[in-house]
Subunit: 210 residues, 2 copies
Amino acid sequence: MAFLFDKITMNDKDLLLKLLEATTFTFKKHTNILTSLKKDNIVGVVESGRVQIIRNDYDGNRVIIDELNQNDVFGTMISSMIGDNYDIIVKEDNTKIIIIDYSNITNFNSTQYNFFNQFIKNLLVITTDKIVEKNDRIEVLTQKSIRDKLLEYFRIISEKKGGKTFDIPFSFTELAEYLGVDRSAMSRELKNLKDEGFIKVVNKRVTLLY
Amino acid sequence: MAFLFDKITMNDKDLLLKLLEATTFTFKKHTNILTSLKKDNIVGVVESGRVQIIRNDYDGNRVIIDELNQNDVFGTMISSMIGDNYDIIVKEDNTKIIIIDYSNITNFNSTQYNFFNQFIKNLLVITTDKIVEKNDRIEVLTQKSIRDKLLEYFRIISEKKGGKTFDIPFSFTELAEYLGVDRSAMSRELKNLKDEGFIKVVNKRVTLLY
DNA sequence: TGAAAACTGTTGCAATTGCAACATATTTAT
DNA sequence: ATAAATATGTTGCAATTGCAACAGTTTTCA
């Protein structure tokens, strides 16, 4: 997995964060990070813990837009979220987040600091990886039936892990949100897939039987 | 809109493209670019013309993953597409595409070339913009009904344009693919929205009446 | 220009889905 | 340890949707 401070020494990282005026925050579980931020165009790095980017529909539906663990990077589009029913919710106590003002990155004059170049290259790799992830999800979401959404989702995970057995990194409630379908309807369709012998499900472990 | 060669002089651009061993191709309409490429991890820039990134389902459904016009950037995840039913289809005659090997960008040592830094910053901005676009589409796709998908899609366009009237940049056939729904069912729901007085549609011009 | 291809609008119908409303089970927080 | 909060599994039912099959229109291109 791409890491934002790859190929940058510890010392250079510290200097870089100072030059970019980065700040580290520690959050309690359930905190909504957005309300704690002053700037609206930032890059966030999860130093430890876990957060989710959520959108709440006008009609009460939740959508998990992103799920972020240690070393994951988010942000740079926060400005488009403010006042638009987005939440960035901390899912673990003592989650530590590094916040960098995005304009400090794009305006940074790197001629004197070699490692900045590596930093921005890393950031580029991470954002392109993220596009691939989004494309995967779009592929899943454009399937027409719940069955096809599940099978497409399983196919993609299975392909990544390189095997017919894998763990779902979600609760079933969250999986339904990820797929954009009703939880109970998904539950029913999972049962159908099991009964018809397409898959085996034990806890969060799925095995494709075809 | 972010432009890959922003703040880079014409001369520097030419030098940059030479240093990155970029190649320009000219394609005829209907060409599938992927089959013409040797490398599988590239950045493409549409110099002129129009292309679409399409995925064909196993069951014959098309999904428009991306739609690219002049100056748009694509690629960097092509490797994950090969053999996975993706097509990059040229939609206009004489479409010109600049192809850059992605590894030439990440491995480039920029200490001697100042403008490379600007280039990679531009690329970063473009990819983050693209993430915002993907998030928009995900938001649309996670709506549960065709009606809500349409309204959410209209809401986002309307918000961008800053007005209740706007043009749909798709054919209706393509819009249905973008929304991941059946074309005729979408057609029916559009009619319902019109009949119920929520929207007005003249050709590709939509007006929100609420 | 003229034929072929692509797009659009419409409708009946069967299949799928969301929703609501439960009962249990599991996890979290004090 | 216990109460509260979340998550899970299930089902009936009404509403929505995909699909198929048309006819008519517009666009493409040789």
